[in-house]
């Protein structure tokens, strides 16, 4: 129980990173590879927010006067992850538009067949 309490969020984030990498390395369809990229980015963002947590902490917002300042979680990883989520969406949109162009040019989305066609 103590092991679970300390490590459950790390196990979730690392599991997502490994599954995302596995999809990207071993699947042949281009859109499946891009889905793997999206899962990988979610895993990395979960890992970074886990680093800033404090035991029995509260959210860093002064909603009422007189809140305990010593118990607030770290706000800097949250600001960085906010930026990273939006940039992940932008990269995915660009990758999918390139995939649409590839499909219209070659007629297939299978990476093995695209490598075999020379022209």
């Amino acid at each position: 129980m103590n092991f679970l309490q300390n490590h459950i969020f790390y196990i979730g984030a690392f599991g997502l990173i490994l599954i995302g990498l596995f999809i990207m390395l071993s699947k042949r369809n281009l859109i499946k590879v891009i889905i793997g990229l999206s899962i990988l980015e979610t895993g990395v963002n979960l890992f970074i927010v886990t680093l800033g947590y404090l035991n029995q902490g509260t959210a860093p917002i002064f909603s009422k006067p007189g809140l305990d300042v010593q118990k607030m979680v770290d706000p800097v990883p949250q600001a960085l992850v906010l930026t990273a989520i939006v940039i992940g969406l932008a990269v995915l949109a660009l990758a999918l538009s390139l995939a649409i162009r590839l499909y219209n040019h070659y007629g297939t989305l299978n990476l093995q067949k695209i490598k075999e066609q020379k022209w």
């Binding site: 770290d74 706000p75 800097v76 930026t83």
Partner: protein, 227 residues
Amino acid sequence: MRKFIGIILLVIIAWGLLITMKEIPFGEQKTKVGKYYIENGEVDTGASNIVTSVVVSYRSFDTLGEVTVLFLAAIGVGAVLATFQRKEKRKLEPSSLILNTGCRFLFPLILLFGAYIFIHGHLTPGGGFQGGAVIASAFVLVYLGCRGKRINQAGSKLAESLGGLTFVILGLIGLAVGGRYFLLNFLPKGEFNTLFSAGIIPIIYIAIGFKVGSELSGIIDQLMEES
């Protein structure tokens, strides 16, 4: 053969991650910068939401870089998909009356909710990026429900450019007034925990909300094909 090398690579990376998991303790105080921002955030910026004051006031240059990356991605999608010959225009049947009326009724309510999120960004959780995403999903609802309706392209590009320009001009005014650095918070701080407080932070978030909303709905509009 490829799969074998892939699995060996994954085992090496998993071993590295396990070593990391043992080294970093969970739930202890790790850095000093966060402590400084929490203790002095009220006095320096006047915003109640510390994450907002970190994103817009202490690390505002990173936010400028992110706004630039979003702009580049929108231009990139438009450039890659622009040189297409349409094969034939399919004639779509219009959607039924209930669907049409329901989507047109919900559209201003969702826009109002998104505007509430980015105007109160310095008091409650939220801000420009979340509010912009809600506005973009309102536009996606109209595209899917009432077929054939599109927003005006020129108006969307104008809103996007004005949002980005407001951000940069506010930063340059800060440089001119204070004389010390870019994006100085030069308006008065006001009372704590009210709507008109925290200097230029609400104005920057309103500009970012407009920009992100029109940009994301423009990206989805360009990816869709039908007339």
